[in-house]
């Protein structure tokens, strides 16, 4: 998306709305909420378009990162449970201390995204489900353990093992 031009925004919308909306629905499972998030995402993209650094990753990755963060924020405030993570502010998308990591970022090609998807679906069931609950529903390991009625140690191991397998697939 370039320089906040309305046409560019429309083009980005037409190109990426389905991925954005699909992710928002995946997280929120509610059309009204998902639409609100889409609104927020493109609004944020519009205002930040000038800051967006195309070398840092594809537009769609950027939009999806915003989408997940916004959607999980909304999901958590909807849950409004005392044991949930904070209901507002930046969540889930890991923000590492700059001093430690610098501004490095990945560029995910369509090919590696596809590889990742297929690796995800090939994971043992519990690993995959645990990862999806944590990632798409913003649950903590404790909450995942409750949902799956598994010991927390098991969930911890499943998530980690699954993620390491995905990393291997991505790097292969």
């Amino acid at each position: 998306m370039a320089e906040g031009e309305p046409d560019a925004l429309a083009a980005a919308y037409d190109r990426h709305i389905r991925a954005v909306y699909g992710l928002a629905m995946r997280v929120l499972q509610d059309q009204g909420d998902a639409e609100d998030v889409v609104q927020e995402v493109f609004s944020q993209a519009w205002t930040q378009a000038k800051q967006y650094d195309a070398t840092r990753g594809s537009v769609v990755s950027w939009l999806l990162t915003i989408t997940r963060s916004r959607a999980i924020d909304r999901l958590r405030s909807r849950r409004a449970r005392p044991d949930s993570a904070p209901a507002s502010g930046e969540v889930a998308v890991v923000e590492l201390p700059d001093s430690a990591l610098g501004a490095e970022n990945e560029v995910l090609t369509a090919e590696s995204a596809a590889r990742l998807r297929s690796a995800l679906s090939a994971l043992p069931l519990l690993e995959r489900v645990a990862i999806e609950l944590a990632y798409f529903e913003g649950l903590t390991q404790t909450q995942v353990a409750e949902r799956l009625e598994q010991p927390i140690g098991t969930v911890k191991t499943r998530i980690r093992t699954g993620l390491l397998t995905l990393r291997e697939a991505l790097n292969s």
Partner: protein, 293 residues
Amino acid sequence: MSDTQHGQFDALAALYAMGALGEDERDAFETHLEVCVECVNEVKSLLPVTHGLTHGALPLEAPAALRARVLGEVTGVTPSPREAPAAALLDTRFGALEGSETFAHVVEPPRRGAGLLFWLTATLLVAAAGGGGWYVSELDRQTQGLRANMDAAMQLAKRAELELESVRSAAAEREAVLAIVTGSDVGQLELTGQPLAPRASARALWNAAADMVVLATGLPPLPAGDVYQLWFVLPDAPVSATLVKPGPRGDATVMLKVPDAVTLPTVMALTIEPAGGVDAPTGDVYLLGQPAE
């Protein structure tokens, strides 16, 4: 890395990268990150994976009115109409049932709390042929001309409609069914109704980890004292897969682990047997599925 505390944090990088740590654990881990190169490198190496996962959700067609709302509100400019969506639809990802053939469908809005069953249904609906005015009730007439997976979509849509409120299977099981059905490495076998059950049909779906889901519909009511039993029909002898007890409408969703001895795809059959099941099939065959080749 000479931090003596590293050991206790060793396993947390993955959970941190996923955003799955609770607040206290996260704070503690971030403090540790400031002094531990090893953990920093581990997290760094995992971030492309977690970022990549955002691409793992199924793309969905958004309501048409949303475009004007978003573009109008964001830019203050009335947007020009969208180009024909055909090209955009082509890149619909649908890996579960038919790898390369993709169709999109505007998925009906879920009721709040519809949860995973909705997703199961929605995912399959996306696989079905699209267009407005698409109703489950019409599908009975259209099924023949449409691709095979319309069946499963239809059955699930119908079941979701009818049983959304009554489905009480554990969240974990629904998650598991979802995970299998929506996977991109899914194998499948159609089972068709035999003369005793012409309206019955089923679909077996399995993943690489040998988890199988069988979705059956249209099964006749069981006589008292009987049960349906599903079989893998191997060359030497049938191997029991699971017992199947359909709900009042003749639908059943069962999950099972495929035994090691079974190489899929293989012939599968559903027979009627005495309650509790039997070691080898004795009753009539209600459903039969044979691999394409």
